[in-house]
């Protein structure tokens, strides 16, 4: 199952959401979620924002309205080469900085 899941994500540069993965694997989202959590913990997958970019660098992670609406996407860590750009985009200009 894990190998099948990793194979599914091999060609998806922007990753897939939980529901897309569970649909393609014909498995319940709750069952797929625990596999995804394990693969994220093992560093095989990266949890990304709705645009497929890195979430972990963003201070809003636990409270992101965008994630609440769109949900996370899971990207294969080996495909994830644009972390530097992701860190840059996930740091919105604060009013103080802009002033």
């Amino acid at each position: 199952m894990l190998a099948q899941l990793l194979a599914l994500l091999e060609t998806r540069e922007n990753g897939l959401s939980l529901f897309e993965i569970s649909r393609q694997m014909k498995a319940q989202p709750s069952a797929v979620q625990s596999m995804l959590d394990l693969l994220v913990k093992k560093g095989r997958l990266i949890e990304a924002g709705p645009d497929g970019k890195y979430c972990a660098a963003c201070g809003l992670e636990s409270n992101c309205q965008l994630l609440a609406v769109h949900g996370k996407r899971y990207v294969l860590a080996s495909l994830f080469s644009n972390k530097d750009e992701a860190v840059r985009i996930e740091s919105p200009v604060s009013p103080e900085a802009a002033l």
Binding site: S62, V69, P95, L99
Partner: protein
Amino acid sequence: MNITSSHTLFRLDYGGKLEREIANMTEAFAEHKLDTGHYPSRWLAIKLLEADADVLEHVRTLPNGGAVIELARQSSEKLKSWLGDDVDMLVADRRYGFINGIVRQALKRPHMDRVTLTDRIDDIVTHKWLGLPIFFAMMYIMFRLVIDVSAPFLDWTDAVINGPIASWFASLLDLAAAPAWIHSLVVEAVIGGVGGVLVFVPGLLILYFFLALLEDSGYMSRAAFVMDRFMRVVGLHGKSFIPMILGFGCAVPAVYATRTIASRRDRVLTALLVPLMSCSARLPVYVVFGLAFFGSSAGTVIWAMYALGILVAMLAGMVFTRTILKPDVSSAFVLELPPYRNPAFKSVLIHMWENTREFVHKAGTVILYASLVMWVLLNLPWGVENQRDSYFGRVSGAIAPVFAPLGFGDWQTSGALVTGFMAKEIVVSTMSQIYIGAEDAEEAAEPTTFLEDLSGIGFGFVDAAVNSGKILLSIILGVNLVDEEAEAQDTVLSRALREHFTPLSAVAMLIFVLLYVPCVATLGAIKHEFGISWAITSAVYQTAVAWLAAFLVYQGGMLLGLG
């Protein structure tokens, strides 16, 4: 028949190579006389091969534990080179495969065409004709609740800040024999400016509570779906509405949220429309004017501002689509609608707290600095008697004629609007400084003791809670349970504003604040994403639209005799 013989101990087969290494490990336990205690040997062998940290730590403390761990490490390395993955991954893969097999064999799922509760709700809330009225009704109810239910707490916060807190600071400064200018700096700039904004914290807490409920329940995605048809009119699709909904909180993350849109043209257009959504920073301005001029209808007026923002965004989008941002190839709108769920109370509270903390932080930094700068400018040249003659008053007075056709051509309002460019909340803090500072916030206060102040704050809070509960029940039951006396409460700033505005000029002012130039942080985000030219475009077109809309409303109202 021997019953126990029919029970076989379940054992998952992990495959030839892995099973062989597990067997080798259990044999090694016996050879090394390892005391496995209450752990089954097979389980312990698997955990050692998986390099489970807790089990390794435990085994290390046992006699010969180090040798067994070394054997397990060698076995794990061997398995990794044979099977191409870590043992814990191989074990988990086998387990998930087994579980999936059992589920497929044992679980008979109802037919896929079964109608779930989510489907039934979606049939109504995403209905072709009902979807949009339901969306606007939800927004209306939300803003009625935000304004009406928070109003008693708003009065209480206002009374606490401008009453006991202002008087405590004044007494402390008197004790320290502080000069008059420090007195003025603390009472007018810090308490008048920052306190004027902090008054709205209860309202924001309730606003963020409802926004979190809508998001966590799964309704927000439906709102985007419902708005898709309307978004197509302006050459966009429903996906662009999600950044716009986020814009109700703050336009800065909403501008960054346009990254989910594939087409650059769609991204630019969405970012130009996002600042027209009423962000939470504008809410204090709406509440102050709403309560000052429209009393119990304040909720309706504020809702109308939010609806007007959406309407103007549609019109602006249509103009852009037909002029400088002509549509490229339209892409299909595919939006996943997650199932509805009961919002987790803890998650809603965290959402409320995080967003309100951000607002309070802004009040303690940007708005505090702006209030201090404002105070300095209002008092320069040093010792100026009349604020109108200060540098700030003179510059604001020079700009004021621009706003005269809109019904608010005094130097105070034009000054407040200019400072609102930094952050929209500063409009209120500037007005608090100018109007309340001029009126002298302490004049009505009778001398009270510290304990009387504390008990007043406590009883005031209880009164506010009771009145809020009554208002909530009144809205739910449709019966008025609120005393006239409680309804008649008013903030210090509201009273001051009624001397300078009429209801018509107040509406024009609200429309101008809704539509005029986005704050500097939003422009920074647009510049960052799309370049300086689009940031300038945003600032110029919004200010022009705001002026025109306020002009039409005010002059139209005057012609109709509403002034």
